[in-house]
Amino acid sequence: MTRLARFQRSVLPHLDAAYNLARWLTRNDHDAEDVVQEAFVRALRYFDSLRQDDSRAWLLAIVRNTCFTWLEKNRPADMVAIEDEGLISADAESLGHAAPGESNPEVIVLQSAQKKLVNQALEELPVAYREVLVMRELEDLSYKEIAQAAGVPIGTVMSRLARGRELLRRTIEVRMRKAS
């Protein structure tokens, strides 16, 4: 079997996962598609470095890094540094006010509104929290795999997950209060 055929069999099936992560990090369909295409070309180039372990986590690490390189170049404003040790109350306040969003009490009760609310709140999170939450809750990666992909220690992954969840909860809370 050729190298390309082996790649197509073991890596290409994770195209949806790659796109999901890129879409959440770039927050835009078109940009996500560009990043995914670039990430796959890069993955094929470094396919020899994939050992027997999980090809999905390996691919997602490449997608993550391609996204960050892209964001750094095209949307440096998205690359806000976060304080891993700091307090988050100030962040939560500013997030709650960042976007007015929809505040119609009737739609909030609908399930589709709940989805919209979660989607918007997650999109608003700083990218450092968003990436760990998407990798953990949507892609089901282990702490270790996330730590490897994001290039941070496992302890940082855990604290970012906790803070990210807390920020998300508060953002949603603020939105719901405004709506009711």
Partner: protein, 213 residues
């Protein structure tokens, strides 16, 4: 709403959209991969062709001459030199860098006047490669810039030296003594990144530096 953080994890899993790739993207990626595979196949065939020619030449020569011809060629020899320089740089704490700084505006000017070329220097902390400094080194019989990065707990050295009259070359990876190497040539400079990290991670740094030059 009084849900704890655990609930918001559940909320993401349940309510956040899982974005799926479009059929169009699937086709685009397939085509890009075929293109990439096609591009890398050609140099490989040329490489084989070159090796075959060299072997034929060797067969014609005497055994002693053949022995000298089988000694490591250019790339192999340089890869060995680079691994040696990398290992040496790790042996004592102050072998690694002559100028210690995470600021590219400190490291880059340091090379001015010490080298007859200007190596690209930048910090990529956001992508996991924190600039830690630079030093002078010696590769392929020439003075070279060695720019040092920290990637998690690993040290990465990037060697840069002039490529006299060489064409640009896409990144190619080697592994040697447990170290990964990614080498490329661009704009009249040869680059080689080395470290005990995955080749794909080094590739990320290679791509960042290539964007810069």
């Amino acid at each position: 709403m009084n849900s704890g953080p655990g609930d918001s994890a559940e909320m993401i899993a349940r309510d956040a959209t899982y974005h799926r790739a479009s059929e169009d993207l699937r086709k685009r990626v397939g085509a890009a991969l075929a293109r990439e595979a096609g591009e890398s196949r050609k140099p490989f065939l040329w490489h084989l062709f070159g090796t075959a020619l060299a072997c034929a030449a060797v067969a014609v020569l005497t055994w002693s001459l053949a022995l000298t011809m089988l000694l490591p060629g250019g790339d192999e020899r340089i890869a060995q030199e680079i691994v040696t320089a990398h290992v040496r740089s790790l042996m004592a704490p102050n072998h690694l860098a002559d100028v210690v700084s995470t600021d590219q505006h400190t490291v880059k000017p340091w090379f001015t006047g010490k080298l007859d070329f200007a190596p690209p220097v930048a910090d990529y902390a956001a992508s996991g490669f924190t600039l830690t400094g630079g030093r002078l080194d010696y590769v392929d019989g020439r003075a070279a810039a060695a720019i040092t990065y920290r990637h998690r707990l690993h040290v990465v050295n990037v060697f840069v030296w002039p490529a006299t009259g060489e064409a640009d070359r896409a990144p190619h990876t080697h592994a040697r003594q447990g170290y990964s190497l990614v080498g490329w040539t661009r704009g009249g400079l040869r680059f080689c990144a080395v470290g005990d990290v995955a080749a794909a991670d080094l590739g990320v740094l290679a791509d960042l530096l290539r964007d810069k030059t």
